[in-house]
Symmetry: C2
Subunit: 246 residues, 2 copies
């Protein structure tokens, strides 16, 4: 298997956690859905730029000061020489290079819709971040990533990650907002399991990425995960289980 795809993902220090990052999960699920064998290279946050540069993977955007931003997920495919970052760009590449016999990750004509869906999901689940950011550092990240993540988010947001987490009375209130955020997605899906009806597509991996983040930060036995998995007739727990079969 010398031609196996290399997939760059963030490691976790917690036992039993395969992966946790909502963005890299989109690519992990994309590769699995396609049935493509891959090997994971685990990269700590401070090493992302040097690792990607060394692999010839381009940046995905720019910092406000103009420096290039290197981000995961990223892949290198030795069969074609492709070296790419960004989950949507990777999904397009996989569709083109490995169309396979299943529906495409991004069915023809749906790219802008899938992009906007991803954006709308992220906006709806905004209230999740305050609960998950600090806990991610605490429970999942190794020391070098922990330090880097806290420092760069502080620069970016102007506040400590730990100060984000709601306290006291606000916990219940903000938890209701998380539920309402998932509820909004449920109103788009209606009775369908997947964004495109009976067919899995990239849009579902966006939601699943957030669910994997919740599940892995809190753990499967936590009350928080039990809540999320049970909301809206248990559809979120079911979605994670149904996508994990790939």
């Amino acid at each position: 298997m010398t031609n196996m795809i290399t997939f760059y993902d963030f490691p976790s220090k917690k036992d039993g956690v395969e992966a946790w990052n909502p963005n890299t999960w989109k690519t992990r699920l994309s590769l699995r859905y396609k049935g493509l064998p891959f090997k994971t290279v685990w990269v700590e946050y401070p090493d992302v730029e040097s690792t990607l540069k060394a692999a010839g993977i381009p940046p995905t955007s720019q910092w406000p000061d103009g420096r290039p931003t290197y981000t995961l997920p990223a892949i290198v495919d030795p069969s074609t020489g492709a070296a790419l970052a960004d989950s949507l760009i990777i999904a397009e590449y996989l569709d083109k290079t490995y169309p396979g016999d299943k529906p495409l990750l991004i069915p023809s004509g749906t790219k802008a819709l899938q992009t906007a869906y991803a954006e709308a999901v992220r906006a709806s689940l905004g209230p999740l971040f305050q609960f998950l950011m600090g806990r991610t550092c605490e429970t999942l990240l190794n020391p070098s990533s922990d330090e880097y993540f806290r420092r760069t988010r502080k620069e970016y947001m102007g506040m400590d990650i730990d100060a984000l987490a709601p306290q006291g009375e606000r916990v219940k209130e903000e938890w209701k907002n998380v539920e309402a955020g998932f509820g909004k997605i449920a109103t788009w899906l209606k009775a369908d399991e997947f964004a495109m009806g009976n067919t899995v597509s990239f849009a579902d991996f966006v939601v699943a990425g957030f669910l994997e983040w919740c599940k892995n930060v809190w753990g499967e036995d936590s009350q928080q995960w039990k809540d999320v998995a049970s909301w809206h007739d248990g559809r979120w727990g079911k979605l994670v289980r149904n996508l994990e079969v790939y």
Copy 2:
């Protein structure tokens, strides 16, 4: 043409304005795209509930106190007896009842994606509302709608519509935010004219509805409309022109 569809829309007092409301425009464009003849019944805001009730059209949601909310767009189709409100529900009905030989308004499997797209467009164009709400009352609404619109929005938002409009230094800044909002949609569309590539769909009517609102509030010769129409390589002005051919 006794079987012509009746389409309920909001009137305007301004010469040369065919229609202005971003929501009803989605249905106006849907009907035109389908090539279905229709007659417009113009309804002032205070008369929406009684008019729709009399026509047997159901409410679309609820006020916070539990009372039903009646909204436009709405249609009655005497060929089938259908009496419906909500632009997305109407689009689905038209696809089912009048599939025609063009692509559907909501192509198979894209309903949740189209719904989320509509939501993401509205969120991106949030900064537009502060510019348009007061001006809509002032330049477009007849007295009874003007009074009703101002009163109910004040109840809802807790502030006067006119206080929304940015003043002084903030005008330029907020206008940049409007441009950035359209810019976000442009990043989803990339080089494609329409959300689904070469094919018009409901998603495009969502954007076009907002564009028609801008155009009709400010007028085609205004600097504001010239700005909007020219942003992002003139794609917004072109979109309006290309959808007006139906």
